[in-house]
């Protein structure tokens, strides 16, 4: 569901990453740096998108022809208050980006825009969000597409993991940290629900390719492989080299997404035929090495 305005890669003169200090924003900055691509990272220090003058300030920071990666959001968006903050962020983004003559906008959205469907999730499905977080990202996509007159790509990552994750939510990042601290990992139920996990470096790689091809449209960042939380926990424990217990716990409600949320990754393959998603076990090993260095080689004596 992507169309490349540059069939051969032609990276932008400069890329501005709004939300450069965040998990995905930071990975995008590192990818741009490794390509030697000119980049300006904006964090809350440079621009407060919640402020009333955010639009003017953003406009002043941009140059004609900039490509912009918009990552900044208050996530996860769990209530009306946070939704309003996110709507304010969108208003600031729109006000600033509308006036600046940018060449391309890459918006980091979320797979939460999709409801639960009887088929593997793909870009062809009409997003029917069942959560406020998903509704926020859908509204953000619609507002940006409707109000900004530049080629736009929306990237919808599924669950993102990596060494620098700041959220520490239930899943690979938390499991890895618990394992390395020698703390037991407590699963919801028996951790049987299967989800797709994408490495933050893969998301950054896709953003880089979308920038280079000046692609427009929608792309999910999801590997197409689902793994149970128990299996993720077992891998995290094995990589930590520590004898860590994995415990089940009684479920308090129904399994999110009925326990199974698979993706169809064929749009990624058709957009970028030579791109391969990092297999989860490799990605977890890389995150282990980046975050805990030699811990894995200590073996089980530690």
């Amino acid at each position: 569901m992507m169309r490349h305005l540059h069939p051969s890669p032609a990276p932008p003169a400069r890329t501005v990453v709004i939300g450069a200090a965040g998990f995905v924003g930071g990975a995008v900055m590192r990818r741009l740096a490794s390509a030697g691509a000119p980049a300006l990272g904006l964090t809350r220090g440079e621009i407060d998108l919640l402020a009333d003058d955010a639009g003017e300030r953003l406009e002043a920071l941009l140059q004609q022809g900039d490509a912009v990666v918009a990552v900044a959001a208050r996530a996860p968006c769990k209530n009306a208050e946070l939704f309003l903050d996110n709507a304010r962020i969108v208003r600031g983004l729109v006000a600033g980006l509308k006036r600046a003559a940018i060449s391309h906008l890459v918006n980091i959205s979320s797979d939460a825009v999709y409801g639960d469907e009887p088929v593997p999730l793909s870009e062809a499905l009409a997003p029917a969000p069942a959560s406020l977080h998903g509704a926020m990202h859908l509204a953000r996509e619609i507002a940006l597409s409707g109000e900004i007159d530049a080629p736009i790509a929306h990237i919808r990552p599924t669950l993102v993991y990596g060494a620098a994750d700041p959220h520490n939510g239930y899943g690979p990042n938390q499991f890895r940290r618990k394992a390395n601290r020698g703390e037991p990992i407590v699963l919801f139920g028996e951790g049987e629900e299967r989800r797709d996990h994408v490495a933050v470096e893969d998301v950054a790689e896709l953003v880089w390719r979308v920038l280079a091809h000046r692609s427009v449209g929608v792309l999910n960042a999801a590997t197409g492989v689902v793994t149970s939380f128990r299996e993720v926990a077992e891998t995290a424990v094995a990589l930590s080299g520590r004898p860590v217990e994995i415990k089940g716990s009684p479920r308090k409600g129904p399994m999110p997404h009925n326990g199974y949320r698979p993706f169809d990754p064929s749009a990624t393959a058709s957009a970028f035929p030579d791109f391969r998603y990092t297999p989860l076990s490799d990605g977890l090993a890389q995150a282990q090495a980046a975050e805990f260095g030699a811990a894995a080689t200590r073996g089980s004596q530690g």
Partner: protein
Amino acid sequence: VTATLRHREGPPGEPSRVVVLGAGGFLGRSACASLEKDGVPLVALGSRDLDLADPAADEALAGRLAEGDALVFLSALTPDKGRDSATLMRNLAMARAVAAVAKKVKLAHLVYASSDAVYPFTEDSVSEDSPAAPTDLYGAMHRTRELILAAEAPAPLAVLRFTAVYGPGDTHNSYGPNRFVRQALADGVVRLFGEGEETRDHLWIGDAVAVLRRVVAHRSTGLLNVASGGSTSFRSVADAVAALVPGARVESSPRQSAVTHRRFEPAAMRAAFPELRFTPLAEGLEATVAGTGAGRA
């Protein structure tokens, strides 16, 4: 929100008091008139009485509410008032205020007037089980408000997704029966986009109020699409309007956008209110012409 409407057990009965937010709007005025006529204790609040988008609106609204009230939330800035992210913010601020007030004052019932804009246009008929996959900011706003109220307002909640409502007293003048009647009366020409091939459900204001009144009386909870179940092309509506206004004619124009259709599956409505009969379009249009013409005289 579950995908069916459930009535409170026992026979219907009016609540001790109804508070209507958005009482100055098209639906609000008619609903308030109906409640007043039947002697239901009523507090009618419009945007002039209370700016629901104000950050302190929940405090102001709490002062107007009493425990046991049924709160009917009709207020929204519709697309004719703005389609941008600033409008989205004001609309969401209203939902935040309503959710916040429901935490302060124990409501007997909360009725939210959502919109069929939460559904995309499809060839298939729309039911309460159809995915709410909005394609514009207005639809996304209504879906978000539904989610906010369901998650944060501790009150028995009914979500009513209204299709386009027509009748005298309309405040929006959107493309469709209301505008056609005004055009026919003003200059004798009803102007179609393209040939008016799109089909839509057109809900008579009296029927919209009748559903709302029943939902309040049954203290119903859950989700209901509020539509007549019929589906008529804009061309047919325009022709019918022109036939009602002497000398009026219909003009088509080059088509600018794709033809879309909307039709509702009426099963849930029939199950919820089996005795309800919807006003035939011809009858409603006649009353609209009469009412709008009288308003102009």
